[in-house]
């Protein structure tokens, strides 16, 4: 599905990694590992289409992502370390808008259920900025519950700020998505419960560009 060829990443003139190639099939879970600054975030942004690689290509179902029309947009979900939520909107409003933007249109009860699932029961209508850091992260992740029909999730440190309960919820969700044929690429420095399901691994420390 996702094919990466000879990717080289350069940021602000300093090379980050080079010569990365892989081919991700359906239902695969890929972990990107590497020390701080090895280029994990940069890699995910390149895969999402938010950053241009210095060299190399990324193709989705055989077509380079910069030539894709809305196909790839509908198939891929990117979650960076920021939550991409508005502090002045409620969790409900935020989620509804995020789904519309991603080309889905869930009804209110569906969204409410997703929020409840993430333990935000009595907080649907509070402005997001009064929630704690972990609660905000939960609201951001609740989006994933509504985007199970996508094909590829790109998750940058999804476990950060989550407590054990929320971490397990996320692990279950990822497992379900994998079972339904989706693929996941994630980065994390924490140990997490899905280790047995990791099928692919990219170690950016080995691809460190000599500089």
């Amino acid at each position: 599905m996702l094919q990466v060829k000879q990717l080289t990443c350069v940021r602000a003139d300093r090379p980050v990694f080079q010569g990365l190639s892989f081919d991700l099939k359906a239902s695969r879970l890929m972990q990107v590992v590497g020390v701080n600054g090895s280029g994990k975030t940069s890699l995910l942004r390149i895969l999402a289409g938010l950053l241009k690689p210095a060299e190399g290509s990324v193709s989705w179902r055989g077509m380079p992502i910069e030539q894709q029309t809305s196909d790839y947009s509908l198939a891929r979900v990117y979650m960076g370390h920021a939550n991409a939520l508005k502090g002045d909107l409620s969790a409900m409003e935020n989620l509804h808008w995020a789904c519309l933007l991603a080309g889905r249109d869930p009804t209110q009860p569906v969204i409410a259920e997703a929020l409840n699932h993430w333990g935000l029961n009595r907080r649907h209508h509070l402005p997001l900025r009064v929630l704690s850091q972990g609660q905000q992260r939960r609201a951001a992740l609740a989006r994933l519950s509504l985007l199970l029909d996508a094909k590829l999730w790109l998750l940058d440190e999804p476990f950060a700020a989550l407590d054990t309960e929320a971490q397990e919820a996320l692990e279950h969700l990822i497992a379900r998505f994998l079972d339904e044929g989706g693929s996941v690429i994630l980065t994390t420095h924490q140990a997490f419960g899905l280790s047995p399901r990791i099928t692919d691994r990219v170690d950016l420390d080995r691809l460190r560009a000599s500089c």
Binding site: L51, G80, N83, L85, D88, L89, W97, A98, L101
Partner: protein, 222 residues
């Protein structure tokens, strides 16, 4: 597509309403600029009538460009703009929705308040009408041009001032036409040609603007 457009207009207006003080600040700034002048210059009624249209227009222009840098900046900072760039809906449509809701929230109030300010300068009823009309016709292009500058300066340090710098020379035609329209009315001539020119300019920017803005945002993310 229309659905997303409407939803974005609604979202931005909700956000604007939640932060209504920001809007009020823009309006207040407008009132302030226009009221400071009589203070600074003195209260000679004839002099005030002469400078009235110009002062109100400059006030509107400055107030516009005060709010514009934040049009995309806040979406950029919390990374919701990334989600828009990645969305299946074309970026230019999303951008048009944002500019529209900005115009509705930040500029339309100016159109209604301008006559009140014009009265302070002793403009007649006809001139006041033309003042409001010229603002209504001219501000859409101010918004769009400003949004281009806002998109070009995304994420840059000191974007606010930079936007002002990029935008002010481009605003001049609108300013001149707007003032000329009012002044023509004051001196008994027909403001029509100037108003038509303003309208034409606004239409042209509506046609080109969204594309330019989307390109500019694209540039920021590649």
């Amino acid at each position: 597509m229309l659905k997303v457009f409407k939803a974005l207009v609604k979202r931005d207006m909700t956000l604007a309403w939640r932060r209504r003080t920001d809007l009020l600040n823009a309006v207040l700034f407008f009132v302030m600029v226009s009221s400071l002048f009589p203070l600074a210059i003195g209260a000679d009624p004839k002099l005030l009538r002469l400078i009235g249209p110009g002062v109100v227009w400059v006030g509107a222009l400055l107030s516009c460009q005060l709010t514009l840098p934040r049009l995309f900046a806040s979406d950029h900072a919390d990374q919701t703009l990334e989600a828009m760039v990645l969305a299946p809906t074309p970026l230019s449509v999303l951008v048009l929705a944002k500019v529209l809701s900005h115009w509705l929230c930040a500029n339309m109030p100016l159109v209604f308040i301008a006559p009140v300010l014009g009265m302070q300068f002793g403009l007649g009823p006809e001139a006041l009408g033309v003042l409001a009309l010229s603002l209504a016709l001219g501000t859409p292009s101010l918004s769009l041009i400003g949004a281009i500058a806002g998109a070009l300066t995304l994420g840059l340090r000191g974007a606010g001032m930079l936007v002002a710098l990029l935008v002010l020379p481009l605003y001049c035609p609108v300013l001149i036409m707007g003032c000329l329209a009012v002044e023509a009315t004051v001196s008994g001539l027909s403001p029509e040609p100037y108003l038509l020119l303003l309208a034409a300019f606004s239409l042209a920017t509506v046609a080109i603007g969204p594309w330019a803005i989307a390109t500019a945002i694209g540039i920021a993310y590649e």
